[in-house]
Symmetry: D2
Subunit: 248 residues, 4 copies
């Protein structure tokens, strides 16, 4: 049976690419497209999709997610910007409706795997640094993915490490210190997005690197999320949830 | 309580380094050292160690392992060269003696982790190539670790991949095809040992790389094996066994 | 004074991108566009451009180049496929017309620089290997750039190196042997074009790597060629000619 | 004819390795060894070497260099720590004696080549960042080589670049800004010394990387310096001088 997906934010860059991807994906179909000016609830009521994929903007995402759940449809939220307390509210709504859903900060399967390996590796190597490289137009430094990776590393490592940030002869040379993980942000044309996590031990070095050269890389994760959300009983956060469940 | 370790092959390069490492390791002590000309069984009988660490040569390893088990002492076998049927025989002996033991083809924690991540990653990306780089004196190409990694990848991947080996305009350009994983072996001075596993997907690339610059990198794995073998009830093969057990 | 460029092959992928790039380039203007079905000589006679940039196909390139020179206009030939004897004929025609021109196998400034550094480095390090990585749709392996790089390395190195190709336990592992330079070709999705040249010495490794993630990278070289061809007195081959002249 | 070299600082780590290297080098011989407590002038007078190789300490180097020149022997100074005005004084002394000499901050041929290529590349790409990685015991960050590389890049580049240092959400993320070149210093066990210089352009990335895994890598440069100093007529600074002269 085909899973019918309504794409909200179908007029954006990601939205357009998602329409194409879902159209060709096995077991999925595009049941409808909604844009900025449409009444989402009305369209849901009319189309009755199995899933609503939300690819809109930070300012609209909470209201959208809430409307989707209230309508009794499973949400896949690809828009970033939900706050911790908003996620709590949405989870409560899902429980009440006995409805599965997914909030996905990063649809790239490779990025999620790379973070998972970095977290695992942190249990064995306490010395680690992150180098993330992006195009110069990127608004922030370091990247959200680098920050999330540092948090995951800190949660996993058993020995507290204090990297030597004091020995700088030029300020900033040793990078940003976040959760005792040095993070270095490179901004150069010719790179879209790249993250390198280096773990050092006595006489050895383990490096995990993930590069994105095309937005296309998010499409496999989008399709996966739309399929797997059907098997969930409550609201989960992170592609890793459905990724690691299905692959065992 | 300190675990008392007898080091067999203590006169070799690895053996000498192991003596130093175990001397300084928490919870471990060097109970004795045996060399090529010593009578291993006699020394075991005299010293009564908890563990015998074998770092000898391929020609001697089976007899050594058998003697250790017969003496009722837990073996940690770091010597390569055991054949499949020899391992079966040793396992039978261990079962009879109700004795734990470990055969460890690679003591580097990082190398074992890198192989584990590569195997996991193969469940999500079917396109993969291995590049291994070693010093020019290395006897074989590709390395044993590359071959083992390809086997682990093949065991994990769900979709059969047929890499395009046919398009070579110069023979050998596309590397060796082992289990449908292309393997490329680089031999250059200035490198001790390095392995890079690259997974490619639509618009993304995930790379797992492990480098060894000093034999010192094996010592953490040796100490771990000598400690964890005390908790085993039978003979296991691969550092991954004790590595992943303890870290949960 | 603006240099007026006629673009032949303006309907192709590269042609369209070149039209855009030249439109915005300082000192250059698009004087006209010609496609597959147009009469090139007639258009040249009508427009009287300073330069014709040819971005067509291997089968048409010789006739195009000859027509451009006969019309007394400076050619910048970006199409590959000219044979050695055809280049000789074109050179003779240019000399007769006292006309400068450029044949450019690779418009990427970075690729040309990387090859130049590799050639220079070969004078100091005799041990070298090339790893080139491309998308799986690439027709040949190894790439033309890798072959050209190996030729340049061979021309520069003073000591003959015989890499150890004999020790393969799996055929192809040591790559292709071209001019005593091992070449390894990787084919994976997620990569457009990348070339890594590794030089090894006692305890050191020097690596020169060039990656192309977008056809846009050729545009700077195209503009440079169209400008600099105005200062040439005969027909030259290779962007390196104008690149290294102007930069001193 | 063999060039007879007196090694001053022969009791140090580098000194001992240099004794071994010169002993086996073609055209060179170890004429004598001097240590901390020896009277350098007296030994020079007795042995009459062609060259004195100084591998001592910053506090002694100026007096040593001066003594060597006064004795009419060609100096190869491998000790760092000479100040600009001290170099001026030594140059004046050399001119007076009509004596060639070499001050060599970095004996690694590969490191010198990598810096040369980075400087050349800066003429074509204005966007560049330096990532240097060293063992955690290194006293300073960034490394002297990184600082020197940034200076060479700044001297070569034609367009002024202002990297975006303002967008940091965590302080230090964008590295140190030296001469408008961002420098990132990584400190991890498992690395001896590594420097990566990345140049970015539209859709392309050119990377020059040099790694040192063994002090042995300095020996080729030491031998080269001892040979080539015989052909110099005055005092020069930098291995690049003799390196690029002989290779043309």
């Amino acid at each position: 049976m085909t899973i019918r997906v309504l794409i909200n934010g179908a007029d954006g860059k990601m939205g357009q690419q998602a329409v194409k991807a879902l159209t060709h994906a096995e077991g999925l179909s595009v049941a409808g497209q909604a844009g900025r000016k449409d009444d989402l609830s009305a369209i849901i009521a009319q189309i009755k999709p199995d899933v609503v994929l939300d690819l809109t903007t930070a300012s609209a995402v909470f209201q959208n997610a809430s409307q989707i759940i209230q309508a009794g449809v499973r949400p896949v939220i690809g828009t970033s910007g939900l706050l911790a307390n908003q996620i709590q509210l949405l989870t409560a709504q899902s429980l009440e409706k006995k409805l599965g859903g997914l909030i996905v900060p990063n649809f790239s399967v490779g990025a999620v795997l790379a973070m998972k390996y970095a977290q695992d590796c942190a249990r064995y190597f306490s010395d680690v640094e992150i180098i993330e490289s992006h195009h110069p137009q990127k608004a922030d430094a370091p990247s959200g993915t680098a920050i999330r990776t540092a948090e995951m590393i800190e949660a996993a490592r058993q020995k507290m490490l204090t990297p030597t940030f004091s020995k700088e002869t030029l300020s900033g040379a040793r990078g940003a210190n976040y959760k005792n993980v040095p993070i270095h942000a490179i901004r150069l044309p010719g790179i879209l997005a790249r993250q390198t996590v280096m773990f050092g031990g006595s006489g050895e070095l383990l490096t995990i690197q993930h590069e994105i050269s095309d937005r296309e890389s998010y499409m496999a994760g989008i399709c996966l999320a739309c399929r797997e959300v059907m098997h969930l009983n409550t609201l989960f956060c992170g592609l890793e949830h459905v990724l690691f469940t299905i692959s065992k």
